[in-house]
């Protein structure tokens, strides 16, 4: 996890608050430092405040309180057109009455760049997104993916150091979206620009980002690199929002350093790593990823506690098997196993014992 000191930060939010109606805060005390060249994703459900943060950074919303700095300079009072930030909008916002070339020329014209230099820059930007042959087309004549590329080229053509992207891939189909994720990532790497990316798609956030800020209820719940976020969520919200997650409510039975025993409502005891619990008797929610649950005895760690489970449903998903179990009185415990040679397919009605390594089960705050 890249830890950025105050001096190294390129974009900084300091104690930023935002309210639209003067009664409720949409963004509550946001502190965030983004390093130069970083790819940071703001991830969260709708209404979590992520888009508002992006709009404040772009200059379309004013911060109710706090300071936003760009390269050390406060920009709260700078109008959007003087911030020099490239932006890709959700529905691309390509100007429909202009050709692709005119769309790309627009930011250069308003900056007073001469015709020959303009044309060179446009050609370079179009080549960068492999759309060199499309300069004379109108946006309506392009497919969604092509429009996406043009929007990207337009945001980059005037060579901004910071580019904001507001759910830019939301309107594309799954395959194209995955392809564009890699293209954006490659552009980011080759140009060395700083990207702030907003999405509600966790897969997108994990694939593309250097760091992800998970927003909920106007606050950053966790700011971490993708692997940290997935494997070591710091609270129940993050654990549930990122990826699939099994949760078992219980009470802390015993705690010692980085190991805890949790007693479930049905009386069984399981292993867990204490995250948000500190003492015996606390209520907790234990979170375990479906792919980290083991049901074959020979694969289980020797000292692991195991508990009973009953197979309810087996779903064949191609590369994965997804099995739903009844565990400790709850019907929605899911395990995933890879479809490898000789992998066992569980039958509904079968009774098995499941277990996991203590570090994969995280005792979080109760919800």
């Amino acid at each position: 996890m890249a830890d950025i000191g105050r001096d190294g930060a390129f974009v900084e939010f300091e104690r930023v608050q935002k309210s639209y109606d003067g009664e409720t805060l949409v963004v509550k005390d946001l502190n965030l430092a983004i390093g130069k060249g970083e790819f940071l994703t703001m991830l969260g459900p709708s209404g979590s405040g992520k888009t508002t943060c992006l709009m404040m950074l772009a200059g379309f919303e004013t911060a109710t309180h706090g300071e936003i700095r760009l390269a050390g300079r406060p920009i709260n009072q700078v109008p959007p057109h003087k911030r020099g930030i490239g932006m890709v909008f959700q529905n691309y916002a390509l100007f429909p009455h202009m050709t692709v070339g005119e769309n790309l020329a627009f930011p250069l014209e308003v900056r007073g760049i001469g015709k020959s230099e303009r044309e060179a820059k446009i050609a370079r930007a179009l080549d960068m997104v492999q759309m060199g042959a499309f300069a004379s087309r109108r946006p309506a004549q392009l497919s969604g993916g092509q429009q996406q590329r043009i929007a990207l080229a337009r945001a980059l053509v005037f060579e901004p150091e910071l580019v904001l992207m507001d759910e830019p891939l939301g309107a594309l189909d799954k395959q194209l979206r995955e392809h564009m994720q890699f293209e954006i990532k490659h552009l980011h790497e080759s140009l060395g620009i700083t990207v702030v990316y907003v999405t509600h798609d966790q897969g997108e956030a994990l694939t593309m980002s250097d760091r992800v800020a998970v927003f909920n209820d106007g606050r950053i719940q966790q700011l971490a690199a993708p692997d940290d976020l997935y494997e070591r969520p710091v609270n129940s919200f993050v654990a549930q929002f990122i990826g699939e997650n099994n949760k078992l409510p219980g009470t802390v039975e015993e705690i010692s350093g980085d190991h805890a025993l949790v007693r479930l409502a049905t009386g069984e005891v399981i292993d867990a790593t204490p995250v948000n619990v500190t003492e015996k008797g606390q209520r907790t929610l234990v979170s375990i990823r479906p792919e980290r649950v083991e049901f074959k005895p020979e694969m289980m760690p020797g000292d692991a506690h195991t508990i009973d489970a009953e197979v309810l449903e087996f779903v064949y998903m191609g590369d994965l098997f997804r099995t739903r179990l009844r565990v400790a009185g709850s019907d929605d415990f899911v395990i995933k196993s890879r479809n490898t040679q000789g992998q066992r397919r569980l039958e509904p009605g079968e009774r098995i014992r499941i277990g996991w390594a203590p570090q994969d089960a995280r005792a979080l705050d109760p919800v």
Binding site: P80, H81, M87, F89, F95, P107, V110
Partner: protein
Amino acid sequence: MSVTDSLTTADGLPLRRALLRADRRARWRAFALVAPLLIFVVVTFLVPIGQMLHRSVHNPAFPDNMPRLTAWFGATPTGTQPDETAFAALAADLRDAAAARTVAIVGTRVNYDLPGTRSLFTSTGRKAAGLQPPYRDSLLKADAKWGDPELWAVMRAASSAYTPGFYLAALDLTREADGSITAVPPERQVYVPLFLRTFVLSAAITGLCLILAFPIAHLLATLPLRWSNLLMILVLLPFWTSLLVRTTAWIVLLQQQGVINSTLVALGILTDDGRLTMIYNQTGTVVAMTHVLLPFMVLPLYSVMRTINPAYVRAARSLGATSWTAFRRIYLPQTLPGIGAGALLVFILAVGYYITPALVGGASGQLISNLIAFHMQDSLNWSLAAALSALLLGAVVVLYWLYDRLIGIDNMKLG
């Protein structure tokens, strides 16, 4: 044998015929649904317009009631001096027309082209039964004007039921005795200046409507729904109010002893004898018509603006454009279909507007439609009214064509 002929259905029927048969019921049903409207439009719209266009070039008053003289005109070339045969035919026609009480109709028809001749026909018609040959002398004795060559030229022109004369009159042109077409003297020109005034005032009203409607429509399109609904009602409320009430309200506001003048006098801005004349002139026409036609500009603009994603302007701003540049280069061009539709609508309505200028226009604020109404109701020269209307219709069609060439009618959004 073409490919389509060789294609058949499973039971050997040609495919095209099978398709026609299969669709026939649906087509007839669709036609039956639109038929009432089609018949209504034909009966109440196309037929009257056709009649009007016909009437503008067709006036049979003279040939219907003066058959013998019409025959003589038909038999002799233009410019022939009227001989005794012609006067005999005239006397016989006048006698019959007087008996059939149609002599005034003929007089009126000739009077259109030569003012002051209606009474000549009616007075001679009263004496027609007592006319004796030689008819030339007895007619000249009845009234010396019967010898006027201009009268004979006019009668010759009127003897043809189909005539371009009403269009000439509507364009302030006249036919000289030798058949050449010249403009009437400037002091007698009525229609061309009025057409010009109608177009200039309509353009001014259209411009004012655009300036006033643009911000309103923008507000309507961007306000939260709760407020924009309220504003929409405020825009539509005058629309639902009687035209007469609205125009009368303007009289109350604008007249010399009206609200605005009295307020200005009370505030000491105007002296009591310096009250502004804001009504019964062009100002009154422009103010009242702008108010009446404003919704026709607001609604198309609003419907276009509502579809413009605010992200466009934001994108322009983020790309470095000032708010003015973003408006001028991004927002304004996208509202063009609405501006075009609204301007065309307002202009076409304004060009043909009748009731408001009639009520508040005074003498200087009258439009061409007021004169058309005058010829329909007072002078009863329906053919001239029809010719004026046809010219107006032609002008609107030309405008529509121009619009289509410049902006494209497909781009027009009316609501």
